[in-house]
């Protein structure tokens, strides 16, 4: 087995009073910066393209509030909400996926496979069948996702949360809910069913600030807690529950808190943009391959997810002239294709 390694270097500094110090991997830092930059560049391009094309310079001045009134309106009012929604949904899905994959120690552990996304779908479809508004649809999605998450965890609980059991119960729940969703679709009127199918594919069409805001708030609260407080214990959890306990990690509460955070993020993301497929599954894997680092790579995963979704949405709007695709179609093609290509090259190089 060939393993390419980049040594962990110590970056040590002095803070006020007591010393502070941390370790970072130059490669992870570079990968994170590169993906974040990609996300920003694509965002600017996306803000500048459409029926009223703008140069990147015009976009930036409009963002700064110093463009012409027309530019300000097009960028800030029409296009920015959609791009911001894409960024936060991508980041949230990627963080949820990275957490799930690390917690269940399985690269297939993503909300689409563990049933939480299907639960959000069921919630949304129930609202559609009942003839509810779009706002109620989002609320239904959050409720459905969170309830499914709680139910799956409760069913898998046996004196502790075992990853194998969680995956099996999750797959069972996903299968059941897929059946329920099919039934609900047949019950909906034709127009409602069309609206529901568009939502189920995952779409950022007509995204407004109202879609992005709840997720943005959740990210502002959860990201510092998860990345700051839980990322190092999460690394230790990969050594096995006993070893993590021996090192002073409170395994049960940590796992439960992180699962709750991930279920919430996945549900809110589904509420904002529909169950955009594959981002939660692919982004952490892409991040891992770019950084070649151990562990969940939470921050780089988030940057990757944001870049992936904003690029996919850009492509969805402009790939076929005169015709917009739902972003979920593109994330599936783009993310899945890239992952397949990476796996193929790695297999050829003798790595997996």
């Amino acid at each position: 087995m060939t393993v390419i390694r980049f040594g962990s270097r110590s970056g040590t500094g002095r803070g006020i009073g007591s010393g502070w110090s941390f370790r970072y991997r130059p490669r992870s830092l570079a990968a994170g910066a590169a993906t974040a930059l990609t996300a920003l560049v694509v965002s600017v391009l996306s803000l500048g393209s459409g029926d009223y094309p703008l140069s990147p310079a015009q976009v930036l001045s409009a963002l700064a509030g110093s463009g012409t009134p027309a530019e300000d309106f097009v960028v800030d009012q029409l296009r920015l909400p959609r791009v911001v929604t894409a960024l936060v949904v991508g980041a949230a899905l990627a963080l949820a996926g990275a957490l799930f994959q690390s917690l269940v120690r399985n690269p297939l552990g993503s909300p689409d496979i563990l049933g939480f996304t299907q639960g959000a779908d069921t919630g949304a479809l129930l609202v559609v069948v009942a003839g509810g508004s779009t706002l109620a649809l989002a609320e239904g999605a959050v409720a459905g996702g969170v309830l499914t998450g709680a139910a799956v965890c409760a069913l898998a609980w046996r004196g502790g949360l075992h990853s194998g059991r969680l995956v099996l119960v999750g797959i069972g729940a996903a299968a059941m809910l897929t059946g329920v969703n099919g039934y609900l679709l047949t019950r909906a009127s034709q127009m409602d069913a069309a609206r529901a199918v568009l939502w189920l594919t995952g779409s950022l069409d007509g995204s407004g600030w109202g879609d992005a805001l709840p997720l943005l708030i959740a990210l502002v609260v959860l990201v510092p807690a998860v990345l700051g407080g839980c990322s190092r214990p999460l690394h230790l959890l990969e050594l096995g529950d006993d070893t993590a306990t021996a090192l002073g990690v409170r395994v049960g509460p940590l796992r439960l808190a992180l699962l709750a955070a991930a279920v919430l993020l996945a549900s809110l993301a589904a509420a904002a943009a529909g169950p955009v497929s594959f981002v939660a599954l692919t982004a952490p894997q892409l991040a891992r391959r770019m950084t070649r680092a151990l562990g969940p790579n939470l921050a780089v995963s988030m940057a990757t997810g944001a870049a992936l979704l904003v690029t996919a949405d850009f492509a969805a709007q402009h790939a076929l002239p005169g015709r917009q695709l739902p972003v979920g179609v593109v994330t599936g093609l783009l993310g899945g294709g890239y992952l397949a290509w990476l796996l193929a090259t790695e297999t050829r190089a003798g790595r997996i």
Binding site: M1, V3, R5, G7, S8, S10, T12, G15, S18, G19, W20, S21, F22, R23, R105, R158, G159, G228, G229, R232, P233, H235, L236, E238, L239, G240, D241, D242, T243, T245, A246, L247, G248, V249, R250, R292, L294, G295
Partner: protein
């Protein structure tokens, strides 16, 4: 010899009136043990006697159904997790090394209980990791990945990680399982060194009674969740005890190498003749 003979003051780690169970299967009830300070305590007994379960309870990876594990006189369940992790280290029976992790990266994870949110890596950490790898003889392997090591080397690396925790107490759950005889002795020699030269208190679960008798300073003989005997091996290991412990007739002679008791099981034809005293 009963646990009550041990003065409580000389035991930083003790189990008091423990009931231990997995789901509904009860392994032990009213089990009381004390680990003498600065001892190399070895828990022995037949399969399924509860020796690993007891070690798991002492290391707080298994919550007792009833009773308490006391660390420095306080219930271990009520102490902050990281404070316990600075006092008591554990080498579990099974751990998983993440794919591609290097030896030094793995050993460095043992520093977690000493680190904070802002002070994540200090020269002190660097020094302790290097010392731990040197003490276990894996310093040369520092940049190798754990997957490519042999079983014996891997076990040394896990012990190095536990050493990096710098705990005065170290518990080892069957540290010699899956190793050949030479590597078993290698690990036990390492344990003896840690005990004698660094003054740590060690508690290990071992399968081999003769190895236990040779290395331990204090034996706890467990059968069906009950302590049959405890004390220095020379006092504890008798034909009578081995019969009660394993239902196995035997002779006990002096180990010609060390003078420790050496158990020689009776030959097959004589086993039927010698009376077996039932345990319990």
């Amino acid at each position: 010899m009963s646990p009550d003979d041990q003065p409580a003051a000389s035991s930083r780690l003790a189990g008091h009136d423990l009931t231990l169970a997995y789901d509904k299967r009860t392994v032990a009830t009213h089990l009381t043990v004390a680990v003498p300070d600065r001892s190399f305590t070895v828990i022995v007994g037949p399969n399924a006697c509860g020796k690993s379960t007891l070690l798991r309870a002492l290391s707080r990876t298994l919550k007792p159904t009833a009773g308490q594990v006391l660390l420095d006189g306080r219930d271990i369940a009520t102490l902050p997790a990281r404070q316990v992790a600075r006092t008591l280290g554990l080498l579990p029976q099974s751990s998983t090394a993440p794919d591609g992790i290097t030896v030094s990266e793995l050993v460095a994870r043992g520093r977690y209980p000493h680190q904070g949110l802002l002070r994540q890596w200090s020269p002190e950490d660097e020094r302790v990791v290097a010392e731990s790898m040197a003490a276990t003889g894996v310093a040369d392997l520092a940049d190798r990945t754990v997957d490519e090591l042999s079983g014996g080397q891997r076990q040394r690396v896990w012990i190095a990680m536990a050493l990096a925790q710098q705990t005065p107490l170290l518990l080892l759950d069957e540290p010699t399982t899956y190793l050949d005889l030479a590597h078993q002795l290698d690990i036990l020699d390492l344990c003896a060194t840690l005990h004698q030269e660094q003054g740590r208190t060690l508690v290990a679960v071992l399968h081999d009674l003769n190895q236990a008798a040779r290395y331990a300073t204090h034996l706890i003989a467990l059968r069906a969740g009950t302590v049959l005997a405890e004390g220095p091996p020379a006092d504890v290991v008798t034909p009578e005890l081995v019969r009660r412990l394993f239902e196995l007739p035997c002779r006990v002679i002096d180990d010609p190498e060390t003078g420790a008791p050496l158990v020689i099981p009776a030959a097959r034809r004589r086993r039927d003749v010698l009376p077996v005293i039932p345990g319990r």
